[in-house]
């Protein structure tokens, strides 16, 4: 049983009311931070903790905070990225729904550390139920003197707002989020300048994921060193994983980083194995944008080592034999799933969600979708496979924001690992389009 720091008390009772949350030690981190620590000391603790951003890229949170420009006379902002729209990722809403104060407490501690007096939680517009929960919780925090002027008599002021997002995946990209928050079209900005220098309203800004911010309270209460002891290597602490697909126990799990993929996938405590006794075919470990792995590379790396749920182990061997931890969207495919159909489905999403600013992503995502649609529907040509690889390559690395990469990786990796399945679709159009038909090659199952 691994240690839990974000979800420990979820399920014991309804943690939405502030009193229930406080009964389990809630808001002690705010008290400790505001009354006995300097902002710099908090940043130091977060640095020591080794906490890496949980929104997808895994950038060290403490380091990001220390980049924040501190010009006199300009406000600084903390913005919580609660947009969460990556297909397969549904962990932030779980935390906010069940324990909104965990996020709010983290927001107060982090805002204090960053010298922000106004902070925002940017929530995907469709998640109105989460917005209502957060608003209620924020009102309770104001009533307890944990938000507003002179918090707990410390002299520190903080206003916290919930902002409904534009309902677009691209609004989760941090600079598009800031544009959207400013009331504009959610188009990503060119970087540099990075938000740490010029973010919201051209002021120094930190954008962090819900889970990253929520983890800071525990770090303050227990110390960065204690947090760094959890996990493995540079993947410290715990991670929320949203598991879905053909498994027995879909859901959100808090794991210690470093847990083996095999244990996570097969033990009853977590996913409980492949549903209906079927065989494992493929896995997407970190949300739809990361490369897909075939069965033989899921529980073991290419060197035959045990594959772990950590940033390093999952990316072992680069994209040739590895993938990414990403945002922790763990999507499992059994032997009856069609890789071509799934790749088309993912691509359809990225095509729909591309903001359309830069030519490779705007045009390339639509092109890939149409070619995949053709292959899936029995009208593909052999040369389409190489065409897809080439179009994905032309997008990757050449766009303003990483949505282009996110669209290219699933296509590139599906063809890299399941080329024969694409070829089968093209060679056997009538069979491939028959309802329920799926390509089976025994060697790829586990």
């Amino acid at each position: 049983m691994g240690i839990k720091i974000l979800t420990e008390h979820i399920g014991k009772e309804d943690l939405k009311p502030i009193d229930a949350y406080m009964k389990y030690g809630g808001y002690t981190a705010v008290k400790k931070a505001l009354t006995s620590m300097s902002p710099d000391a908090i940043v130091e603790e977060v640095k020591k903790s080794g906490l890496r951003g949980r929104g997808g890229a895994g950038f060290p949170t403490g380091m990001k905070w220390s980049f924040l420009a501190k010009p006199e006379g300009k406000p600084r902002y903390l913005v919580c990225n609660a947009d969460e729209s990556e297909p397969g990722t549904f962990k932030d809403r779980y935390l906010m729904m069940h324990s909104p104060h965990t996020l709010i407490e983290g927001m107060i501690v982090s805002s204090f550390a960053l010298g922000a007096n106004t902070s925002y939680i940017y929530v995907r517009g469709e998640m109105m139920f989460v917005i209502r929960i957060l608003e209620k919780a924020i009102a309770e925090a104001y009533a307890k003197g944990l938000l507003g002027k002179n918090i707990l008599g410390s002299g520190y002021n903080l206003d916290l707002y919930v902002h409904p997002g534009g309902g677009a995946y691209i609004c989760g990209e941090e600079t598009a989020l800031l544009e959207s928050l400013e009331g504009k079209r959610g188009n990503p900005r060119n970087k540099p300048p990075f938000p740490a220098v010029s973010g919201l309203y051209a002021c120094p800004t930190v954008v962090n994921n819900v889970e990253s911010i929520a983890a800071t309270s525990w770090i303050i209460n227990n110390g960065g060193d204690e947090y760094a002891k959890i996990g493995i290597g540079k993947s410290t602490g715990t991670k929320l994983i949203s598991a879905c697909g053909n498994i027995n126990n879909p859901g959100v799990y808090e794991i210690e980083l470093g847990l083996s993929v095999e244990e996570f996938l097969y033990s009853d405590q977590y996913c409980g194995g492949i549903a209906n006794g079927k065989k494992l075919k493929a896995l997407v470990a970190g949300g739809s944008s990361v490369p897909i792995l075939p069965a033989h590379l899921i529980t073991k790396t290419a060197n035959g080592e045990s594959r772990l749920m950590s940033y390093e182990s999952l990316s072992d061997g680069g994209f040739a034999t590895g993938t990414m931890l990403g945002s922790g969207g763990f999507i499992v495919f059994d032997e009856d799933q069609c890789i071509v159909r799934n790749t088309w489905n993912f691509t359809r999403f990225y095509h729909h969600e591309s903001c359309g600013q830069c030519s490779p992503c705007r045009e390339g995502t639509g092109w890939m979708e149409k070619v995949l649609h053709r292959i899936e529907h029995g009208h593909g040509h052999m040369h389409d496979i190489d065409l897809l690889v080439d179009v994905a390559k032309k997008i990757e690395g050449n766009t303003i924001c990483p949505l282009g990469d996110a669209a290219a990786w699933p296509v590139g990796s599906a063809i890299r690992h399941f080329r024969d399945e694409f070829e089968w679709h093209i060679k056997n159009p009538s069979e491939a389009t028959r309802k329920g038909a799926v390509y089976r090659k025994e060697a790829v199952f586990a």
């Binding site: 691209i170 095509h351 830069c358 030519s359 303003i400």
Partner: protein
């Protein structure tokens, strides 16, 4: 005494070194060297703030970030918005990856931009045409259906044909920066995105005509000029007038056919960019020679098709002759009257100045 002279940064682009002021972008540094190393630009526009970074036509490889930190940059960077560092080394035309990527950008842009140059009013002045010609591949691999739109009159003077729009956002920046109330912008996302006006609004601002000048392709065209003439049959003349509009420079190019002024545009520099914008009165209402103080024939790049009707010696660029020499065999009985002392050219080359 302290040296107060501004420090210049040394940058090497395609093995040519240039010294530029700090804050200069790679694109501008390359333009200072000359056309042969200047990356193509479809969305960047010098006189409009905030443009660039979108089309990805100008991506280059930075093989050394600076003298202090000579590590190469991991990805290709957009030269139009990346500022130079002292000691930076950039590869543009000499880098295979850059050229290959550029081919890709052309291919992407041509997916939803029809190759209907023969019927497009922008033919002869189209940056995409030049870009595709210089950097594209000979074939298209896109087999799917393309998006199509009806033509739309967005105001009394401008026609929008979204089929040809490459979403460079230049017109949006123009409207934002030159006009008071912007009524048009980008709607929708991805390849569904389109330039359009607010419901039932028309673009009738004093400076709206500049949107036509900045559009790199034939998506926004001048309704008072559309299909009156191919630009290479017109004669551009530089002129000015004292315009009462405080923001209008009054500096224009008049496009003549015979005695008639068919079109008035802002003056464009060698990169095809208007440096001083003009108002709609100058553009649409002043089409008599008597409205203007004529300065003389407009300078036209000899690479441009518009130069075809300029009877100057450089009308056929050097590379034209070189290509002819490579591709055609000598025809001895070429019935061309050569000026005295000039050698017989190779192949069938009609020189406009020998007419």
């Amino acid at each position: 005494m302290e040296n107060t002279a501004p420090q210049l940064f040394k940058v090497t682009i395609d093995n040519i070194e240039v010294e530029v002021a700090p804050g200069t972008t790679i694109l501008q540094a390359a333009r200072q060297i000359g056309h042969h190393v200047a990356p193509p630009a479809m969305c960047y526009y010098t006189s409009l703030k905030g443009t660039g970074g979108k089309c990805r036509a100008c991506l280059v490889k930075v093989t050394a970030g600076s003298a202090k930190d000579p590590r190469p940059m991991p990805k290709l960077v957009p030269s139009c918005i990346t500022t130079v560092q002292d000691g930076m080394i950039v590869e543009n035309t000499v880098n295979e990856q850059v050229l290959e990527t550029r081919k890709g950008v052309v291919e992407f842009l041509l997916i939803n931009h029809p190759l209907d140059c023969p019927i497009c009013d922008q033919a002869g002045e189209c940056h995409l045409q030049d870009f595709a010609f210089e950097h594209g591949r000979g074939t298209q691999r896109y087999e799917e259906e393309r998006r199509t739109f009806e033509r739309e009159d967005i105001g009394p003077y401008i026609q929008l044909h979204m089929n040809r729009c490459i979403l460079c956002y230049r017109c949006v920046f123009t409207a934002d920066q030159l006009t008071n109330k912007r009524v048009h912008g980008v709607l929708n996302r991805g390849d569904h995105a389109e330039i359009s006006t607010y419901i039932s609004k028309a673009i009738d601002n004093d400076f709206s005509g500049n949107m036509i000048d900045v559009c790199p392709v034939g998506a926004l065209t001048d309704k008072t000029f559309r299909f009156k003439q191919r630009v290479w049959f017109t004669k551009p003349v530089t002129a000015h007038r004292d315009c009462e509009h405080e923001k209008c420079s009054g500096k224009v190019t008049l496009w003549y056919k015979g005695e008639d002024v068919l079109r008035v545009t802002g003056r464009k520099n060698e990169w095809g960019e208007v440096t001083e914008f003009i108002c709609n009165t100058c553009r649409f209402d002043k089409k008599k020679t008597s409205d203007w103080v004529i300065e003389g024939p407009a300078k036209v790049s000899h690479h441009s098709v518009i130069s075809a009707n300029h009877y100057e010696k450089k009308a056929i660029p050097e590379f034209g002759f070189k290509q002819a020499a490579q591709q055609y065999k000598q025809i001895d009985d070429l019935p061309v009257q050569l000026p005295e002392g000039e050698k017989k050219p190779v192949g069938i080359v009609v020189r406009p100045d020998s007419k």
